[in-house]
């Protein structure tokens, strides 16, 4: 099911397909006409996606068919093996962790995972991790330090799960610990926001040396729906809240929260997952290489400064 604003694109695509089909059946040459339409399609996609509102961007970030964490983990890397369990509370399917290879170098991969269908969504708790998920991530940070494996995290969660067991098991504590543990990594760490970067539950695995974001992904302190519910007591004001929250890739780059944006194929990652995966792979390699030249001390210091300096405030006159 296309998103509202994708309807014209889908319609045009359908027309081009029909025309191709017709040309084939009738054995006539409609090459020129098709080519014209294809150009129009490209322009339409470009215009549409360049001018998305922030709320539309939120919808793209959550679109079904958009590559999920596991799509990246399994396809960007070679030899991925999943490692399970936090050795204390359980094995949280909302966060997938493991080892993988990037050319000759082994890495630790940590990824939040929403479902690719309803069944998986339920299994993955819609990508909302419990404390066990963050504990598993921390176990991977330990493994990464011990074997000097760079860490790559993929962020895609509405947020950490707000439930009774999660609170009883110290959701706040474990997010804080994960932030701290990740900031202490002695190896290079890269984070990529691939879909929805939801609040502390996202940041818990986002304290990297370099933080990238996909063009249509978002990163926010609160979901537009919850924000609207608080500000206007009306969750349907989410589009307004999305606008106010400045949660798109470009906004975040302006605020220095992300270091760079990874362009998506025209029409969004969900229209061309394969190209998206390739772009992400290339970007990971390019970003990781210089980080691998840094010493432990430099990596720690760079990460410290990167996060220490975030925020906007003004000196008071007279101070």
């Amino acid at each position: 099911m296309p998103l509202d604003f994708e309807k014209p694109i889908e319609d045009l695509e359908a027309r081009i397909n029909d025309m191709r089909q017709y040309a084939k059946e009738q054995e006539i040459d409609l090459g020129n006409e098709i080519s014209l339409l294809e150009n129009r399609l490209e322009r339409l996609k470009k215009e549409t996606f360049e001018n998305l509102s922030r709320w539309q961007r939120v919808q793209v970030a959550r679109a079904p068919g958009r590559p999920t964490g596991l799509d990246y983990v399994q396809n960007v890397f070679e030899d991925f093996v999943e490692l399970h369990g936090d050795r204390a509370l359980g094995d949280d399917p909302a966060i997938v962790t493991g080892l993988a290879r990037l050319d000759e170098l082994s890495v630790v991969v940590i990824s939040q995972q929403k479902g690719r269908d309803t069944k998986e969504n339920i299994h993955r708790n819609f990508g909302m991790a419990h404390p066990s998920g963050y504990r598993k991530a921390m176990r991977m940070f330990d493994l990464a330090d011990k074997f000097r494996l760079p860490v790559i995290t993929f962020i895609d969660t509405p947020g950490a799960y707000p439930g009774i067991a999660a609170e009883e098991q110290g959701q706040a504590w474990v997010i804080a610990e994960s932030i701290q543990r990740m900031s202490r990594l002695k190896v290079p760490a890269l984070s990529i926001v691939i879909g929805e970067g939801g609040s502390g539950g996202a940041l818990a695995i986002g304290v990297a040396n370099r933080v990238m974001i996909l063009e249509n992904a978002i990163y926010s302190v609160i979901s537009p729906e919850s924000c609207a519910a608080i500000l206007w007591r009306d969750a349907s004001q989410a589009p307004k809240a999305a606008e106010a929250l400045r949660l798109t890739a470009k906004d975040l780059q302006t605020l220095d929260i992300v270091d760079d944006i990874i362009a998506e194929p025209s029409g969004g990652a969900h229209r061309d997952p394969e190209t998206t995966l390739k772009c992400v792979l290339e970007r990971i390699k390019a970003e990781l290489k210089p980080l691998c030249q840094l010493s432990e001390a430099d990596l720690l210091e760079q990460r410290y400064q990167r996060f220490r300096n975030l925020g906007r405030f003004a000196a008071l006159p007279g101070s």
Partner: protein, 291 residues
């Protein structure tokens, strides 16, 4: 979702009114006794009848936790910007101006230095009466500066948390204060300086999920509401009633999340005890002091 309390229920709050000079008498929330407001203030905002812990203004807290005349404020030199040009029912700029006027400080925090039972300490005390104690860039920066300066001056660090969570109007910048305050604590760790976290009612959201739960020792005041998500959010998510005492300090102590629940009347003595003990380990030269 973290600021709900501030926006919904506690906006021009009854609690605040309790501490206003409006009425001379008030009825205790807990025991229903009639309390003379001045007695409440003189009693460190504890009900003289039942000991119920009321929220405490930050200056009073600073004096409660430091030796007489020793407290010297550090914070107050920076003020919020409006990086998102945020407007809801009111603009962020107006909201802040109103809060600043009411609380007479630039943002929801007071930091400073003092002596605690003779021990040099730095304090970071969150002001719940300022925008629900929400953490934006200024709160994050003040905490980070206080932690770093404490490390420089070889002071133990005490944070007193009270917060509805992140400062929504600063968007993801407020989220990043979680990482910022957390990394700043490293400066203390490197010098083996104690960081004691005191959680007070209420502490939820991003503050709980960052520096406030990273104390070498974590204590809470009795009956404080402490959690990641607010109770309303959880209730909406799970569509069932929350267990009795859920997210309260005593509950969290049983769940292993706190070192102790400490009544306000014993708080200074407890903190002094922890700090004395944590600062008198073996010297780096591996010599036992006077054993």
């Amino acid at each position: 979702m973290t600021l709900e309390r501030w926006f919904r229920r506690n906006r021009p709050t009854r609690k605040e009114d309790d501490n206003s000079p409006a009425g001379l008498w008030m009825k205790c929330d807990s025991c229903s006794a009639q309390i003379y407001r001045k007695d409440l203030v003189a009693n460190d905002y504890l009900c003289p009848e039942c000991g119920h812990h009321y929220r405490m203004p930050v200056e009073a807290r600073a004096h409660l936790l430091t030796d007489p005349e020793s407290f010297e404020p550090w914070s107050g030199e920076i003020t919020p910007q409006d990086p998102l040009e945020f407007v809801d029912t009111e603009s962020y700029v107006e909201r802040i101006a109103r809060a600043q006027k009411k609380q007479k400080r630039p943002d929801a925090i007071l930091t400073g230095a003092g002596l605690l039972d003779g021990e040099p300490v730095a304090l970071a005390i969150m002001d719940f009466f300022f925008a629900g104690g929400s953490m934006g860039s200024v709160v994050g920066e003040e905490i980070a500066r206080a932690a770093e300066r404490a490390a420089e001056e070889e002071r133990s660090f005490i944070a007193v948390a009270a917060s509805g969570g992140a400062r929504m109007q600063e968007g993801a910048l407020s989220l990043m204060q979680m990482a910022k305050t957390t990394v700043a604590l490293e400066s203390l760790s490197r010098k083996r300086l104690p960081f004691i976290s005191v959680l007070t009612d209420p502490t939820t959201g991003g503050v709980t999920a960052s520096f406030a739960t990273l104390g070498d020792i974590i204590v809470a005041e009795p009956n404080s509401l402490i959690g990641f998500a607010g109770p309303r959010v959880i209730q909406q998510t799970i569509k069932q009633d929350l267990p009795e005492g859920f997210q309260r300090a005593e509950f969290l102590l049983k769940k292993g999340m706190l070192d102790e629940v400490v009544p306000r009347s014993q708080l200074k003595a407890s903190l002094a005890g922890y700090i004395h003990l944590l600062r008198n380990g073996l010297k780096e030269t591996a010599h036992a002091p006077g054993l």
